[in-house]
Homo-oligomer: 163 residues x 2
DNA sequence: CTAGTTCCTCAAGTTAACTTGAACACAAGA
DNA sequence: TCTTGTGTTCAAGTTAACTTGAGGAACTAG
C-alpha cells in the first residue's frame, strides 16, 4: 500500500515531498516556514522548490525547539546565528543549543518556584491581595500565550503614550 | 487624578468594575470567562452582573493557573470540582491545587529530561533520524500551542477514519 | 434633571502557527 | 501520450484567549 519513497532528488536538489516525508512536516508547514524565513530553498527553472540535506536538520531543530516551547520568531532568531556561507558544523549547532538550554534552565527554575509557592499560597487568604508572591509580575511566566494578552500595565496604549 | 474605588457593592453584590479593579482583569476578560463557564454572576433586574467575593478568588486562581501554562478548558474542569452549593473552603482549594501541582511536577520533569538530551543530541548525527530520542513522540511535550497543530499521526483525518 | 461614568450586547478584529481548498502547472510512469 | 501524482499560488479558515468598537441603557453625582 505504501509507496516506496524513491529518493526524489534530481540533480537540482530535494523536493518538498521528500523533505516532508523525512521530517514528518506537512508541505504546507514547510512552505510556511519559508515565509517565516526559516528555510530558503532555491527554485527550478519551472518554479519548484529544491532543498538541501542541511535543511532537514534545520527543520528538525525547529520541531524540537517548538516542543520545548520556543516560538517561530525565537527559533528564526537563533537560526540566524548559524553561518550562511557554509554548511553548519556540529559546533555551530551546539552553540545555538547552548542558548536554548540556558532559557530552558531559567524556565524550569521559574516553574519550580511557582509550583513551590502554589501549595502554600493557594489556600491562604492572600489569594486576592496584590502583595501575594504569586502575583509578583516578575515571577509570572512571560505570556507565551496566543491572542491579545496585554497583562497588567503592558497594554499597547500605554506603550503608545510613551509612559 | 485617581478615582477612589468606593466599594461599589450595593446590597445586590459586587459590580464588574469592582471585580476588574481587584483582580486586574479587564471587564471584557471577565465577561469572556463567564461565557467560558468559569464564573456565573447573577443579574440585577436591569441586567447588570453582580459578583460575590468568592469570585475574586476564583478569578485569581485562573490568572495564576494561566501563568503556569494551563488552558481555560483545564482550569474550568478543575474549578468544576469545587463545591457548587457552598463557598469553597481552604481545603477545597488545596485539593485542586494538588492536581495542578502534579501536572506541574510532570512537566518540569519532562522539560528537564528534554533539556538534558538536547545537549548531547543536537550536535549528533541522529537529528534527522526517526530513532533519535528527541523524536520519541512520548517524550515530546504535548502541543500546548495555538492553531491547528496536528503533530504526526494525530491528524483529525486519522481520528475520523477510526484508526 | 442633566452630565458623566459604567454597564450591556453583539459583531468583528488580533496573534500564532498552520491547514484547507480552488485553480492550475508540471513531472513521471505505463 | 495520457493519466496520475506532485508541485505552485493565493485567499480564507482554524484555535485560543481575549480586545475593540458601535450603539444603547442605566446608575451616580452635583
Amino acid at each position: 500500500m505504501k509507496k516506496q519513497p524513491k529518493l526524489r532528488l534530481r540533480p537540482t536538489g530535494l523536493t518538498i515531498g521528500f523533505i516532508s516525508e523525512r521530517t514528518g512536516l506537512a508541505p504546507s508547514a514547510i512552505r510556511y516556514y519559508e515565509e517565516e524565513g526559516i528555510v530558503y530553498p532555491h527554485r527550478t527553472d519551472t518554479g519548484q522548490r529544491r532543498y538541501e540535506r542541511a535543511d532537514i536538520r534545520r527543520l528538525s531543530f525547529v520541531m524540537i525547539s517548538q516542543s520545548l516551547g520556543f516560538s517561530i520568531a525565537e527559533i528564526r532568531e537563533a537560526l540566524n546565528s548559524l553561518p550562511s556561507n557554509r554548511t553548519p558544523t556540529k559546533a555551530d549547532w551546539q552553540a545555538i543549543s547552548e542558548r536554548f538550554r540556558k532559557d530552558l534552565d531559567a524556565r524550569i527554575a521559574q516553574m519550580t518556584k511557582l509550583r513551590d509557592q502554589l501549595d502554600g499560597c493557594i489556600g491562604c487568604g492572600c489569594l486576592s491581595l496584590s502583595n501575594c508572591k504569586l502575583y509578583n509580575p516578575d515571577d509570572r511566566a512571560k505570556s507565551r500565550g496566543t491572542g491579545p494578552r496585554y497583562l497588567m500595565g503592558d497594554s499597547p496604549s500605554d506603550l503608545a503614550k510613551g509612559t
